[in-house]
């Protein structure tokens, strides 16, 4: 997929010298060196692979950055403007581009993002069986417990969710799963990574997605990524009150920092989530720090 959006001067050294399995992020900034994040290490990209030498690094121009975004939109900015307004763009292959630029507002509404000056390309990974060690904690007596995945950005939340859906499918747990894929990342851009028993609503807000999905698809479980605002929490509570199990993720370093989030006070007080799974970057993305129950007691062995 990257070959289709990146110019050859960036794409060639990437495909020739860099292992995509180890690559997490590519950061491009106008007239600044391209930085590759590989595990917990960072390198510059040069014409002959990775380097620590700034002089050898490739410096993308503004035209190059704009061209990448135009290509990622499949030459149709209007078709992805709703995503661009929210600061990202997801390509057909599920690669997410975080965008930096000038935000245009009109009458209090975001119109678009323009004058792009940076891109953060996040490389999605499929880590088979990464959710397996938590599987038995999440499913109890044939029911899926409401579960929240907690990790900092890039900590492997989406990869975990994606694998969990596949684990359900491969074990023939014929729950009706609704994947509410707000940013089009979970299913890797319709690559069929959601197994046999899942329906998907993409690019809808949590509020619209939860309401429409519950009414029209009657799911047993809703899986969604990155809860953030109070609107998301309202939508979540609506779903829980409708008798649907929820598996979601949230940005936080630890359970403690999650508990400090004001927007989630009601969720915490009502003990909506029965399981908390904490991931970190300590030994690379997806390091399992612990599984906790609703009383925040650690379950099972210490990881």
């Amino acid at each position: 997929m990257l070959e289709q959006i990146l110019p050859s001067e960036i794409c060639l050294p990437l495909t020739k010298y860099v292992s995509f399995n180890a690559l997490n992020e590519i950061r491009l900034r106008v007239d600044k060196p391209i930085v590759l994040s590989m595990g917990s290490q960072k390198f510059f990209l040069s014409s002959h692979g990775t380097t620590g030498n700034l002089k050898e690094a490739i410096f993308p121009s503004k035209t190059m950055i704009e061209d990448i975004i135009f290509r990622a939109s499949e030459f149709s900015i209007y078709s992805v403007n709703e995503q661009i307004k929210r600061g990202f763009l997801v390509t057909q292959g599920g690669v997410r581009l975080g965008l930096g630029g000038d935000l245009i507002e009109e009458k209090g509404q975001i119109k678009t993002l323009t004058n792009f000056n940076s891109i953060n390309i996040r490389i999605p990974h499929e880590v088979k069986n990464c959710s397996l060690s938590c599987f038995d904690y999440i499913i109890e007596n044939g029911n899926i417990l409401n579960t929240l995945i907690i990790s900092p950005p890039g900590g492997g939340k989406t990869t975990f969710l994606r694998d969990f859906i596949l684990q359900l499918s491969s074990r023939n747990f014929a729950f009706n799963v609704l994947v509410l894929d707000e940013r089009g990342e979970i299913d890797l851009g319709s690559k069929g990574c959601i197994g046999n028993f899942a329906d998907k609503i993409s690019f809808a807000s949590k509020k619209v997605g939860f309401e429409n999905g519950i009414r029209s698809l009657s799911p047993n479980l809703i899986i969604t990524d990155e809860l953030g605002s109070s609107d998301d929490v309202q939508a979540l509570l609506y779903a829980c009150n409708s008798g649907v199990s929820i598996m979601a993720s949230v940005h936080a370093d630890s359970v403690e920092s999650f508990l400090a989030k004001e927007d989630f006070a009601k969720v915490i007080k009502e003990k909506v989530f029965k399981r908390f799974i904490v991931l970190s970057l300590r030994n690379g993305p997806g390091t399992l720090e612990g599984v906790y129950n609703e009383n925040l007691s650690r379950l099972g062995r210490k990881y």
């Binding site: 135009f70 939109s73 499949e74 030459f75 149709s76 900015i77 209007y78 078709s79 678009t112």
Partner: protein
């Protein structure tokens, strides 16, 4: 010998007559197809925000034919990661004036570059411009296209009269 010469000269006249006729006809069909493309963009972008390439690819074969490879040249530039240039875009089209060529180039260059609202406005503006070209090409076709066929037939008759 006389008959042979009549056939040769008549064919010559008819060939030139038909050539001019089809030139004006093709020009007219080309602008008709371009206006159809604008309509299609308008509907598809408004309704489903369909991608530019998909809209062009889904055109009917007849419309593609009338576009005289304009669609193919555009998609080829995109697929080969080349920047869109006027000469590449219009390489197989010889019947356009400088002004017409520039407008078509700017139209294709503007595709997919803005949000929906502005994209639709731009398409509407270009459609109005293409409608003017279409009107003038239609008048030219009526005036010169049909005239060239008539002249060719008259020339044929004159050849016949002269030789007999």
């Amino acid at each position: 010998m006389k008959i042979l010469l009549i056939i040769i000269f008549s064919s010559f006249c008819l060939f030139f007559g038909a050539r001019f006729y089809f030139k004006y006809k093709r020009r007219k069909s080309f602008f008709d197809a371009l206006i159809f493309l604008c309509h299609k963009f308008d509907v598809e972008i408004n309704f489903s925000r369909e991608r530019v390439v998909n809209i062009i690819s889904s055109l009917e074969e007849k419309v593609k034919q009338n576009l005289c490879s304009l669609d193919k040249n555009f998609i080829s530039c995109i697929e080969n990661k080349e920047s869109l240039e006027k000469d590449k875009l219009l390489k197989s089209i010889s019947f356009l004036s400088e002004d017409e060529g520039n407008s078509i180039f700017l139209f294709f260059k503007s595709l997919g570059r803005s949000d929906m609202e502005n994209q639709l406005k731009e398409i509407k503006n270009f459609e109005n411009k293409f409608s003017q070209f279409c009107l003038s090409s239609s008048q030219d076709f009526q005036k010169y296209g049909k005239l060239s066929i008539k002249l060719a037939i008259v020339a044929c008759l004159m050849v016949v009269v002269l030789f007999i």
